[in-house]
Symmetry: C2
Subunit: 241 residues, 2 copies
């Protein structure tokens, strides 16, 4: 049982709030029973951390800690009963529909998009180099464990689009010039859908790779939707095709 917040292990767990340390160790922290369950299924748990008095899952060794220690390492106001240090997820080859996130900055948006991608059967997400880190605690929290069910890779978007022009129907978004997804013939191809940055929308220089641009019809007083909402509505429409 670890009782001191000055313990070396505790200091290292705490450092997992920091991207640099996560990258250096190729690990990240998940909090809550639900997430730990998903991570155990995926066999990526390296270390289980359990609060005193709580019953840990069978057949797994764990480190017990006091409430005070759990509070110290948790990113939440109400600390969880259980958390785990996990190995970062493997990046696999991109096959099937793919969502491209163009410099998305808000961790809540990216978490929401990961959750919706699984809900609507999109198996891949490609993030630009400038997008938020998917192992950011807020991303992990807001994707509700769905991060384990989608193949997420970080790539240079220009290179990705240029090398996939033949195998994908590449689609961007444009609030004004776009047309409706439901009226578009997808030609039986897999779709590569680009979601633009929260502030500036899609990088205009990606347009030359786009076979078509989509919009979501809306009242003119509203300039745009939240990025997580527009991505989700387009993925939802895609499942109807």
């Amino acid at each position: 049982m670890i009782t001191s917040v000055h313990n070396e292990k505790v200091k290292n767990w705490l450092k997992l709030q920091d991207k640099k340390y996560r990258d250096a160790t190729q690990t990240f922290l998940i909090e809550s029973e639900h997430l730990v369950k998903e991570a155990l299924k995926k066999k990526i748990v390296k270390e289980l951390i359990v609060i005193e008095g709580y019953e840990k899952p069978q057949d797994i060794s764990a480190t017990y800690v006091t409430k005070e220690v759990m509070k110290k390492i948790s990113s939440q106001v109400t600390p969880p009963k259980i958390c785990a240090v996990c190995q970062m997820l493997e990046e696999k080859e991109v096959k099937g529909h793919v969502l491209v996130l163009d410099d998305l900055q808000d961790p809540g948006n990216v978490g929401t998009i990961i959750r919706s991608a699984v809900a609507f059967g999109i198996p891949n997400i490609v993030l630009s180099k400038e997008s938020v880190d998917i192992y950011n605690p807020k991303v992990i929290r807001s994707c509700e464990g769905m991060i384990f069910y989608v193949n997420i890779t970080r790539k240079n978007i220009f290179d990705f689009l240029a090398s996939h022009q033949n195998d994908y129907l590449i689609c961007g978004t444009d609030v004004k010039k776009g047309k409706l997804l439901e009226d578009t013939d997808l030609k039986g191809k897999d779709v590569c859908l680009i979601i633009g940055n929260e502030g500036r929308g899609m990088n205009e220089s990606y347009q030359k790779y786009c076979e078509t641009l989509f919009k979501i019809p809306m009242d003119e007083r509203c300039e745009s939707l939240n990025a997580g909402v527009s991505a989700s509505i387009l993925m939802y429409e895609l499942t109807k095709k």
Copy 2:
């Protein structure tokens, strides 16, 4: 020009971060040029606060402050050039489609929903007493000025549903038992759509008032969508009717 963060006015502006003070004064703070523009159109600006060297809108008096003061009163990491103290919005009679928010806790979700409501032409939002305060700085920020274009009222949900059973088609949400909105005959009635709390979904005791329950079809690995996303998808489907 106010140069000291200890000035009485600055102390009062800072207190607007706090719900109790907002309620007592019936005012709230908005930050950014875009929001101030919208508030000026609505004629609810009581006090304009402008950073030194910045050109304020014509024909309006303003208080100039230093960067340090602006940083002190702002809720953002990068403080704005202009902000304003505004009179709280008037609650009007509910007429036309209405969205009912059942104890929504996350300010980002509520802001997103307000933004989508305007985008999809829903003129009213009724919040339960336990829902987050709409004048919370994070709600204001995430609704992108759309708070000025929707009639938001705070009510007891049971009373509201009970007294509107005849004039509304009351619809709830249920991830399992629900049916599709697009397959539902709305009978030419205005719709009252209830969106459930982030953790527990819709309060089950509202079901007796619901003529129908909706669901959004999704992969079984995903238990539910983000509340802002599900509300937005249902409002989006409603506009197609």
